[in-house]
Symmetry: C2
Amino acid sequence: MANAGAAAEISSRDKILDAAETLFAKRGYAGIGLREVAETVGLGKSSLFHHFRNKPQLYAAVATRILVRIEDRLMRSLAAGGDPLTRLERWLDVLIDVLAENPSWARLLLRSLFEDDDLPGDTPEELEAHATVGRIVAAATTLLREGVSTGQLRMANVPHLLLTLVGATVFPFASGEFGQEVLGKDIFDPGEVRRRKREVRDLLRLGLAVNPTR
Amino acid sequence: MANAGAAAEISSRDKILDAAETLFAKRGYAGIGLREVAETVGLGKSSLFHHFRNKPQLYAAVATRILVRIEDRLMRSLAAGGDPLTRLERWLDVLIDVLAENPSWARLLLRSLFEDDDLPGDTPEELEAHATVGRIVAAATTLLREGVSTGQLRMANVPHLLLTLVGATVFPFASGEFGQEVLGKDIFDPGEVRRRKREVRDLLRLGLAVNPTR
DNA sequence: GTCTATAATAGGATAGAC
DNA sequence: GTCTATCCTATTATAGAC
């Protein structure tokens, strides 16, 4: 039993999830064999099947764990209140922070959008991941619509705006060497994280063009 | 010989590249076996090795072909002239058009950013792809800097802005089912392509927040 | 330029001992 | 809960006939 105050005992299941998260982020679903996951954890390949039925289920468990953790942070940031623009900017700040704190997450999430074709798609674990994405998207949509209806945000195409925001927040933290070369620095560097937040915020507040006639 | 006016004869090499492009976009480098590529083309697996030394070289050839074609379109759009903001907006319109016309490209390009780890990285073919990316990035950087220096664009962090623009243009066309669910329509639908262009343009011109005190 | 045959390796998954 | 042994299939790549 987990004694309060005792050092957290990490279960084999969690160790497997940790290793799989890093590896799947690095080389994708098809690029990682269960042997490599097992070796990283220090187990035999067969032992993984005691904790997860098969490879798709392991992958879905990894994705779901990330999504649930992100959802938790985002929902708590919404609960802090404020007008829609304030909540939107805080939502994006929190999202950027979460992705910056967990270097595997942006990559794994973007990859998982592409890897539909590789996965069965109808297992309970995948449906849970899918439902979590749905709740996050729904919350963001509500927030944006609210901002438009209060007049704090201009009338915009909410679904397209949402895709833009995902692209502007998730993509850079998944961009690896490309981002590194463009920035000349690691995107996970605290200074670059700060600049990323400012970039997103300024784009929303000011746009890019200087338009004195507006 | 290619007689002018005769129906274009498609070489085996090009057929292989076409098939590999579609398949790699769908399931990634590690997710596609050469058997599947060969079957799609209607050749035996071994015949591929007559045209490409190995799998990494085939992948790099696919990526390079896409990048060169995109570079060509973008550079020609720049040559049409105009002030920096005009050229920037045309650049983004052309980029969106190119990605919309070739449904495999955005996915394959985003994937290729993540798949550094899976590839050797130092073959001549990969270096060519890398150099092409470098030229495109350099041209975009010059364009943005020019806009800032003429005062048409606000002072912005150019590298971060560039990551944002890639995220806002490439990501949606790679987002597959996710994008479809967010939009309620296929992103490659002509109407959605138009809306995507407007979304990007409006964000640059107006931002998102309504700011009457500006 | 395409084929068959083959090599050597790695993949996911199961059975059953401990 | 972890292990060894095994099964079957797929992988990249090469050799050599046609």
